[in-house]
């Protein structure tokens, strides 16, 4: 361990190497949720892992956690409201909650499934922000006493 915060130099280097791949994987899982296994929940979890990995590797303290804490509140609520908004539009267009009002697109292609990819993105934002908030609250703010 050197004097800097966080884990050793090896962990930091590997974190910065794999970070882009993790992010692409999470976004891929979210966007292709209507074609392959996965979906908004799993994609959001993977994106939250990325931030947790950064946090653990670079050893942020409470000051570092304050900014994502503020942003995550907004993201968490925005995801939930987005999901509700798209679902309520279904009531307006088709009379049922989550009615799939956007038909069209070829099956087995990325642009298909109507509102399902949009819902997946909203869930991804919501879950990712939520899980990182849990991590922040349980693992960071408990430290000082």
């Amino acid at each position: 361990m050197n004097n800097e915060k966080g884990m050793s130099e090896i962990v930091k280097a590997i974190t910065s190497l794999v970070a882009a791949s993790i992010m692409v994987f999470g976004i891929n899982i979210t966007f292709y949720g209507h074609l392959t296994p996965g979906g908004g929940f799993a994609g959001g979890l993977i994106l939250a892992f990325l931030f947790i990995l950064y946090y653990l590797a670079y050893g942020g303290d409470e000051e570092l956690a304050k900014l994502p804490f503020k942003v995550n509140h907004i993201l968490d609520s925005a995801g939930a409201i987005g999901f509700l908004f798209i679902g309520t539009l279904g009531i307006h267009f088709g009379g049922r909650f989550l009615y799939n009002f956007m038909k069209g697109g070829k099956a087995f292609h990325l642009l298909s499934g109507g509102i399902i990819p949009l819902e997946n993105i909203a869930i991804c934002i919501k879950v990712g922000a939520s899980i990182f908030l849990v991590f922040t609250v349980l693992a960071v703010f408990r430290r000082e006493k």
Binding site: H34, G39, F49, F83, L84, I116, K126, S130, R142
Partner: protein
């Protein structure tokens, strides 16, 4: 194979309960989750296995981080006799009710899709799912189209849990 994994699951759960060291109980809890994920893969449910592994990993990270921050805790007090008896009785009654419920399910390993009844919803989903929802992954189609309020409830549960955790664990302002 599934039976072996189930036995591993039960053994890990018993270790997690009986262990005096909090860190080792968390790790054996992880064993329960990962063997459940592999069972889901054997039952050909990749969606469930995927989410199970991810949730297991995040749970382990958060719990280990939260326990290691305090010093490693050892549980020293003994169990109360009356509480243990009461718990065992409660578990027996609940297990009986659960077994009664299981008997109404179809036999293990027989897919509902092959059932002859016309009213089985799984058959309907597989036959009409792609045309009606446009989603090739039938699990996502069922979750986000047929079961309208399912994901809404899940999101609400998560949201409430976060709000509760923040409300309990936030920094208290001291009036000086």
């Amino acid at each position: 194979m599934i039976e072996l994994l189930l036995i591993l699951c039960i053994v890990a759960a018993i270790i997690a309960i009986e262990s005096k060291n909090l860190l080792s109980s968390i790790i054996s809890l992880g064993g329960v989750g990962f063997s459940l994920a592999i069972i889901m893969l054997f039952l050909s449910a990749p969606d469930v296995a995927f989410v199970q592994i991810l949730v297991e990993v995040v749970m382990l990270i958060i719990l280990i981080r939260a326990t290691i921050n305090r010093d490693v805790t050892e549980v020293k007090c003994k169990r109360e006799f009356f509480g243990m008896i009461f718990g065992m009785a409660l578990v027996t009654v609940l297990l009986g009710i659960l077994l009664m419920g299981i008997q109404t399910l179809p036999e293990f390993g027989t897919a509902l899709v092959n059932a002859s009844a016309e009213s089985v919803p799984a058959k309907y989903y597989i036959e009409n799912g792609l045309a009606q929802t446009g989603s090739a992954n039938i699990v996502t189609g069922v979750l986000l189209d047929y079961r309208a309020y399912d994901t809404l409830g899940e999101a609400t549960v998560l949201f409430t849990a976060i709000i509760g955790a923040i409300a309990i664990l936030r920094k208290k302002k001291t009036n000086e």
